[in-house]
Structure formats: C-alpha cells, structure tokens
Amino acid sequence: MDWLTKLMSLDRRYIFLFVAIGTALPILFPIGFKVSITPPVRNIYDKVESLGPEDVVMFSFDYGPSTSPENDPMADATLRHCLSRGIKVIVIALYPVGGVTMADQSLSRVLADFPQVRRGIDYVHLGYKSGSQATMKQMGESMAAVFPTDRYGTPLEEIPLMKRVRNYDDMRLVVSFATGIIGEWWANLINAQFHVPIAVGCTAVSAPKYYAYLNSGQMIGLLGGLKGASEYEKLLIDHYPDARATYDRAGLYTAIKGMDAQTVIHTVILVFIILGNVAFLAGRGKR
C-alpha cells in the first residue's frame, strides 16, 4: 500500500485525535491571537454607543445549551455593554429548549459585575413564552398581553421599568441571540412590520443567511459566531477599562479565548482538506 492509498483511507480516529488535541491545547495554553473588527459587529457596537440611560434595549434569548459556547459570550458582551452605559434592559426567551436557562445564566454572570443595577428599574427578566411568531407579533401591540408577569411572578404593572414600555415603539433596539429560525423572524417579520432596529447574534454556521437581511437594512448588525463575539469583546476591552478587568479574569470563558481553539481547529481541518486533495489529485494523475 503506497502513501497515497494510506492517506486516502486514513482511519477517521486519527482525525478525531487531532481535533481533540487541537481543541484542548489552546484552552490549556492560550495563544492570544489578534482580533480584527468587521463592519457588521462595529455597527451594533456603535448603535449601543449612541444610546443612553433613558433608552430601552430588549434581549431575546433564542438559543439553547447546544450552542451556548458561541452564543453565551456575545450575549454577555452586549448585555455588559448596555449595563455599562446605564441602558435599560428587557430580557425575554423564545427558544423552547433551554432559552430561559440561557437567559438566567447570562444575567447571573453579568449582574455579578454590576451590583448597582436594580431588578425592575434597570432591567427586567420576563422569562419564556411559547408561540414564537405569534408571540413576537403580539409584543408589537402589547408586552403585557404576552408577559403578564416577569420571570419571578411580579405583575408587569408593578414593575417600574415596564410602566414606560408598552410595545416595540418604546424600544431603541432588539438583539436576538439565535440558533435557529427565530433570529430570521426578528428581521423579516418584526423589523418589516414594526420598524424596530434589529441586531442578531447567531452561530457561525447560520451566519451566511443573515447577510441578505443585513444588506437590505432589515438588520443593523450581525455577530456571526465566536468570531463576532470575540470582536465585540475586543471593542469593549478597548473602550471600557472595567470590561478589561472582567475579561482578564482567570477562569472566565470568553470568545477571545475560544478563538484560539477555533483558529487551531480551522487550521487542522484545512490541512486535512489539503492533504485529502493532494492524495486525490495525485491518485487521479497516476490513473
């Protein structure tokens, strides 16, 4: 058996081994690659920068634990950015398989660094509601009709922040962290009908489809996968000294740290693709 045949019929367990090592090593020994900023991420950052304490931003947690390594850092970073600027935040979850747990966990991670932020005044967590498209449309008429109470059972009319938020008209931005189609509905349904600015943070694998909405102006920006999240973290670190201290903390999972593993894995996969093609083309040349 010559080397070509050996390479063509490489046992996939060797590939698995390389992927495992390529993931584990950068996590254990961070490399710290440079992060460059792309326009879709910069646009979201600039939009949040243009808002202040009198403005309201809604965060929709439309993903589950399966994609949390990609979506968690972007949710944490944008939430951190809004709270740093004193922007009022509404949190909801529309993804049935764990969305509300993701929202709980993100809030608890970020709020630990903002002891001055008060529930009901600076932020409100409305929990999960089923119905997806119907729910999203109805929020355009009345938030209270969809969420009569918050996550902790407090009636909406007793929550100071919600007294001035009736529907999308009272929000300056909606950010959806999405793993499936819910992110698209925010762009093609809610932006189209209610004209509220939409930003989406999605997994890298679903990022391509959002570029159509981005180009048409139905979305103001896009956080595509771990790369998008790492860019947002970089912007925060560069402009907010407190954020630098937070992201330098040992033991905190961040997109910038995750990008080390992603860089190595992409390179490993590319090397395997090149090797596979070299063997394929050489084999074809021989025949």
Binding site: G131, Y211, I273
Partner: protein
C-alpha cells in the same frame, strides 16, 4: 359529518388566513379589523402551545412502538421516554407547587427548583455534548468529501478555504498582519453569498405564499387528513 370534517375546517382556515391579510391593508383606525386581528394573534399563541402536546403524543407513540417490537436502538427510545416522563412530572408538580416541587425556575432565595436543577445539570450538558461531537464529524467529513472533483467543486472548495481562513486570526498572520483575507471573506459574504441566499429566500417565500393561498381558498386539503374520495 361532512360539514364537521370538511366544510367547517375549510371555513375556519379561510377566515384565519384572510383576517390578518385584510387587517394588514386596513387603517389602524378601523376598530373591528384590529379587534379581530388582536384576537386571532392571542388565539395563535394558545394554539401554538397545543403543538407541544401533539409533539409529545407523536414521540410517545413512535417510541412505544419501537420498544414493543424490540427494534434496533429500542433502549434509546426507553431512555428518551423515561427522561421525558421524569422532567414532565417534575415540571407539572412544580407548576402546582406540590411538596418539595415549588415552581419550575429559581426559588425566592435564589436556589434551584428540582426542574431547574434537571435543566441545568442534566439537559444542558447533554445537549452541549451532542453539539460538541459535530466538530469531530465535520472534520472527518471535510477530509473525505471536500475534493476538487470538477470546476464547481473546486470553486466551492476555494471559497470555503478562504472563508475558513478569513474567519480566524491565523489568516491575517500568514499575510503579515494585513487583513486581506478577512476583507475578501466579508466581500464573499456580502455579495455572492447574500445574492444566493436572497434567491433562496425569495423562492421559498413565493412557494409559501402560493401554498398559503391554496390553503385559504380550499384547493390544498391534505392538512385535513381526509381519505382520497372524501
């Protein structure tokens, strides 16, 4: 009987389809159309919840059948049913606040209810594990399937290679820190990719619109589950 099985569902479907369209084109000042639209949207939220029940019935039926016939992988079916039953029981007991099951989220003192504990420490790690396995299979599949067999496959291969490199800092490093690959990746995403995506979306939207129209006017009846001659 025919009225209940055919005519009434068709009338309901036509009404449910027409009301939002009519309301969309009418002025918000027209009260009756807005009232109807609001009602319908509220009913949609409730009806959507029933879809979960339909899903549960379907999962139970197919897995019970699998277990009864001892089909390949039946122990997985049994595990699925056990997990679903356990979480549903804890969730329902929590909703009615029975005994130690006080709610389905966090307790007022910040502790976890049994349902929340199951979601965080059983469900979340299991789902994350399933998705993490994809990295291994994708690497293996890319090695075997991504071959420059013809011109189209070669274009796809080169585009994928550029995007993979453009999305990681290493792509910049190999070009001496200049972001050419990242910029080319953004161009690929902004133009050829967006054009193709838009084509797919417009095609799918036209298909959905024509199917909706067929359902509203009663031409498409397969959703009623009728026999061929009914």
């Amino acid at each position: 009987m025919r009225f209940l099985r055919l005519q009434m569902p068709l009338m309901l479907t036509a009404l449910a389809g027409l009301i939002p369209i009519v309301a969309f084109f009418m002025s918000p000042d027209v009260e009756w159309s807005q009232w109807l639209k609001d009602r319908l949207e509220r009913y949609m939220v409730i009806i959507a919840s029933f879809a979960i029940l339909l899903g549960v019935v379907n999962v139970v039926q197919s897995n019970v059948r699998k277990i009864e016939r001892r089909q390949k992988g039946w122990p997985y079916g049994a595990t699925l049913l056990f997990g679903m039953l356990a979480m549903a029981t804890i969730g329902i007991l929590g909703s009615f606040r029975v005994g130690p099951f006080q709610g389905i989220g966090y307790t007022p003192d910040g502790g976890r209810t049994p349902f929340q504990w199951g979601a965080e420490f059983v469900f979340s790690p299991l789902q994350a594990t399933m998705f993490a396995l994809l990295a291994f299979f994708m690497a293996s599949a890319a090695f075997r399937a991504f071959r420059a067999r013809n011109l189209e496959a070669t274009i796809l291969l080169v585009a994928a290679g550029v995007v993979m490199l453009g999305r990681i800092p290493f792509g910049e490093s190999i070009l001496g820190g200049r972001p050419y690959l990242a910029k080319f990746t953004e161009w690929l995403m902004d133009w050829p990719n967006a054009a193709a995506q838009r084509g797919i979306m417009i095609g799918a939207a036209l298909g959905a619109a024509s199917l909706s129209l067929r359902v509203i006017v009663g031409i498409e009846r397969s959703f009623l589950g009728l026999e061929k001659n009914e």
